[in-house]
């Protein structure tokens, strides 16, 4: 949150459209140095609001008749100890990620040959749902060392997988996008070694690194609960994740709230004492003065993976195959499509619709191939019950996709108005954004048991699963849209005002096209988060004989894992591969082309 408001906009309270408050002070005329007051002003209500969150939790506590404050307080010491364990685990995973990101990122950016192998590998790793790693890592490490160090290491590695990829991409991409004049200036002055690192490379990466670190910690908290429970069969690791999960399964409101309060305090403290000062410090290392079309670097982090070699061969092959096959079909289908003014546009639309169908067929073929492959590998050991579940796999993938699409639609319906409200109203932003930030960084997984206990009777297991998916998707959409609206260049906004564009015309001509790229990137990252959350949202055993289970690919992975000792292993492997294949196909054939088209048409330059 840098100041730098464009003065002649903010100075005018009743403006019809004061939606832009660029993050960086632009060098254009009519602006002044960053306006500090906005920073000072919003910190005070923000502090109050941080306190209001535990308070509102307290109000919820009143609904439990057996609840006493003393009871809650008695759990606080244990919760504090547990949160310290979790914090240590998170820090260890973060330091590991940092070291990994710096070395991997620097190496890949500096060496052409290394880059060609390293970046595609990373791209595959980041499109694989993080929770997909869980069963494999846990099974391997648990078998190596069943007590003490083994489970702890597994847990740290799991958190690491949720933190590291976006940091590596942050380092790599910021090094690749160092403005060439700065690079050349360093060359002409002969900067080498440590000095080059300090003067050029470190400043180039630090801004992205801080930004992506915040994201990584948020992701880490989200998966912490799973990482502390998943690792052990029975005896959980001490930590705030397992603390919350036990409290929830024991229906202990006091214990649960104590854990919640401690966790919120830790997250808020980290935000205030670490990330905000660091973000402020990193802000000075920005290269660009004007807001870029892609908005915040966060947008690029999740999406611009380069799948150059390995996958592009496959996709190119598939695409040429598709287009050759579909040419006669296109001519046939063209008759049914709504006539458009430009024949080329009509042709494009037809091809696009046809290839969507082709993609689905491709997913299905892939699934069958996976099932057949797993059958042959495990041919001797597959039990009839597992076989039956494996045959459900194509249907399960379809169900999961449907659930994701529904959750996405609801998220969009909430996030878009919220983002417009906060981007356009400085007051709404000042008051609302701190809350949204804390809520967004709070790990929703900790609340999943509550959702299952309290809400399933009202909204059915299906509704609960969709609700849980939404918690893993909505913030990506919201924050992308927010920064997208705010990064519409001020002169475009001013021109719209100057020519008197208002209301729906403003929306159609300026706002919607202006956020289109951000919408696509937000959707891509939201679906990424959604695929991840599937594994917890479709199957969750919360103890006390209560569990949630809806047919889906995430559910089949979980069932396979839970029954791995009883022959569920092939099911887990098949479902995992099915999930990974689906994610990669959808990313490559739907999202990446869409993203490329959006950037081409809607970027600012």
């Amino acid at each position: 949150m840098a100041g730098g408001a464009r003065i002649h906009l903010t100075a005018q309270g009743d403006s019809a459209l004061s939606l832009v408050e660029p993050a960086s002070p632009g060098p254009s005329t009519g602006t002044l140095p960053p306006a500090a007051p906005s920073k000072i002003r919003w910190s005070r209500p923000a502090t109050l609001l941080y306190l209001a969150i535990p308070l509102s939790i307290g109000v919820l506590a009143a609904s439990d008749p057996g609840f006493t404050a003393a009871g809650l307080a008695s759990y606080l010491p244990t919760a504090t100890v547990d949160v310290s364990y979790s914090f240590l685990r998170m820090s260890a995973a973060y330091l590991l990620s940092l070291a990994f990101a710096l070395s991997y990122g620097y190496y890949a950016a500096a060496h052409r040959t290394g880059e060609r192998v390293m970046i595609p590998i990373l791209d595959i790793l980041q499109s694989v749902p993080i929770l997909g790693f869980f069963p494999i890592v846990v099974l391997v490490l648990y078998n190596l060392q069943p007590s003490g160090f083994g489970p702890n290491l597994a847990s740290v590695i799991l958190i690491f997988t949720s933190m590291s990829w976006n940091m590596v991409f942050g380092v790599y991409e910021s090094l690749k996008t160092v403005p060439s004049d700065l690079r050349e200036a360093a060359d002409t002055f002969g900067l080498k070694g440590w000095l080059r690192f300090r003067r050029l490379l470190f400043p180039a990466t630090v801004n992205r690194l801080v930004y992506n670190s915040v994201l990584s910690w948020t992701g880490g908290w989200f998966f912490l609960v799973e990482a502390e429970i998943f690792t052990t069969n029975g005896a959980a690791l001490p930590g705030i994740g397992s603390f919350l999960s036990f409290a929830a399964s024991g229906h202990n409101t006091e214990e649960f709230l104590a854990g919640l309060i401690v966790l919120v305090i830790v997250i808020a403290l980290l935000d205030f004492l670490l990330w905000r000062p660091l973000g402020h410090y990193a802000e000075r290392f920005r290269f660009d003065q004007a807001p870029s079309g892609e908005g915040d670097p966060i947008l690029v982090a999740g999406t611009s993976g380069r799948f150059r070699r390995a996958a592009s061969y496959v996709t190119r092959g598939v695409r040429t195959g598709v287009s050759r096959l579909s040419t006669p079909l296109v001519q046939l289908a063209a008759i049914t499509v709504r006539p458009s003014r430009h024949p080329s546009a009509r042709r494009q639309a037809v091809i696009y619709h046809l290839s969507l169908g082709t993609i689905l067929v491709l997913v299905w073929l892939m699934l069958i191939a996976i099932i057949v492959a797993v059958y042959t590998v495990f041919s001797g050991t597959i039990m009839p019950s597992v076989r039956a579940q494996m045959l459900m796999l194509p249907l399960a993938v379809g169900f999961s996709m449907g659930r994701l699409v529904i959750a996405y639609a609801i998220c969009l319906a909430i996030a878009l108005p919220l983002a417009i409200l906060m981007a356009r109203g400085p007051r709404a932003r000042r008051l609302g954004l701190p809350i949204v930030e804390v809520v967004a960084s709070f790990p929703a997984t900790a609340l999943f048991p509550v959702i299952i206990f309290e809400l399933v009777p009202y909204i059915s297991p299906e509704g609960a699963a969709i609700l849980m998916l939404m918690t893993g998707m909505i913030w990506y959409l919201f924050f992308n849209l927010l920064s997208g609206i705010r990064s519409i260049p001020p002169d475009l906004e001013e021109a719209a005002r100057s020519f008197g564009l208002k209301g729906r015309k403003l929306l159609r001509r300026v706002l919607v096209p202006g956020v289109f790229t951000a919408l696509i990137t937000g959707s891509i990252t939201a679906f990424g988060g959604g695929w991840n959350t599937l594994i917890v949202a479709e199957y969750l055993n919360v103890g006390s004989g209560q569990s949630l289970s809806v047919l889906g690919v995430g559910q089949l992975i979980d069932i396979g894992y839970a029954e791995h000792a009883d022959g569920g292993y092939p099911l887990m492997v098949a479902a995992l591969f099915a999930l990974i294949a689906t994610v990669i196909i959808v990313n490559e054939l739907i999202w990446k082309p869409l993203y490329r088209r959006a950037v081409e048409r809607y970027r600012y330059d």
Binding site: H8, A11, L32, P37, E494, A495, F499, R601, Y602
Partner: protein, 268 residues
């Protein structure tokens, strides 16, 4: 009758060190068929003044009126040409030119013919379906100009319109703007140009308003009594340029012989 009347306008902004005054006690008038240029050092509030005049922003004190009506909202009879062009990258040239007309809720047919007219007036024929990023800087600013002229404004506001262009392109576009200005068939009635380029101001305008450095106040209003086209190499042109230059650098203490005192009404 004055088309635009600016009276004792102050503008200041809040900052961390309290309020910063951008301009103080600015008064001048623009009459029908005036071509007025505002020059001054950077940061003297030239562009802010232009935004105050259109009503995109409000003065801290003083008043601005257009045809004796106080300007308190964005004035639709004025149109702005931006230094950065401010073209919408997702709209074609034709759609960009139609931008201001859509706000006026004209019928599509009427918009279409108006857009065609101004596209051809500004020499953009054949580029209707191109996107801004496919055009050179000079062509982009033609689109900016066409968009502003298409709404047939009474006053054309130009905020450093040639500053982002290379010198040769800027020169030829200046000539074309002058030709358009002298065509009685075409709007606008008056032009207000903001520039930091003194030669450009003298080459184009009938009158040059010279602002001091921040907080900006009017040092002088210099009439340019030279017939067009003006020869930049003539001694009269050179003398005038030199005088304005001295005014700015010396803060207006000397050089009062042929210039009117601060704030005096213009003779037009």
């Amino acid at each position: 009758m004055a088309l635009i009347r600016v009276e004792h306008v102050d503008k200041s902004f809040a900052s961390r060190h309290g309020s910063i005054s951008i301009m103080q006690d600015i008064s001048f008038e623009v009459k029908d068929s005036d071509f007025v240029a505002i020059v001054g050092p950077s940061g003297c509030g030239k562009s802010t003044l232009l935004r105050l005049i259109q009503g995109l922003d409000h003065p801290t004190a003083g008043s601005i009126s257009f045809r004796d009506q106080k300007v308190d909202a964005v004035c639709p009879q004025m149109a702005m040409v931006f230094q950065s062009f401010a073209l919408y990258p997702w709209l074609t040239v034709a759609q960009n030119v139609a931008f201001g007309l859509e706000a006026l809720s004209w019928s599509p047919e009427r918009i279409g013919s108006q857009v065609e007219r101004y596209i051809s007036v500004t020499g953009l024929d054949g580029f209707q379906e191109a996107y801004p990023r496919e055009l050179s800087g000079g062509m982009r600013q033609r689109v900016g100009l066409a968009r502003a002229l298409a709404v047939e404004p009474a006053v054309l506001l130009m905020d450093e319109p040639f500053s982002a262009l290379d010198p040769l392109t800027a020169e030829s576009l200046r000539e074309e703007v002058l030709q358009l200005w002298r065509d009685p068939q075409l709007p606008p009635d008056a032009v207000l140009l903001v520039s930091h380029n003194i030669e450009e101001a003298i080459q184009l305008a009938d009158r040059v308003i010279v602002l001091s450095r921040r907080p900006g106040h009017i040092l002088a209003q210099v009439d340019v009594d030279m017939p067009r086209p003006r020869d930049r190499k003539s001694s009269a042109f050179y003398d005038l340029t030199d005088r304005v230059y001295s005014l700015i650098t010396e803060g207006g203490s000397a050089m009062a012989s042929k210039t009117r005192p601060e704030g005096a009404p213009s003779a037009g």
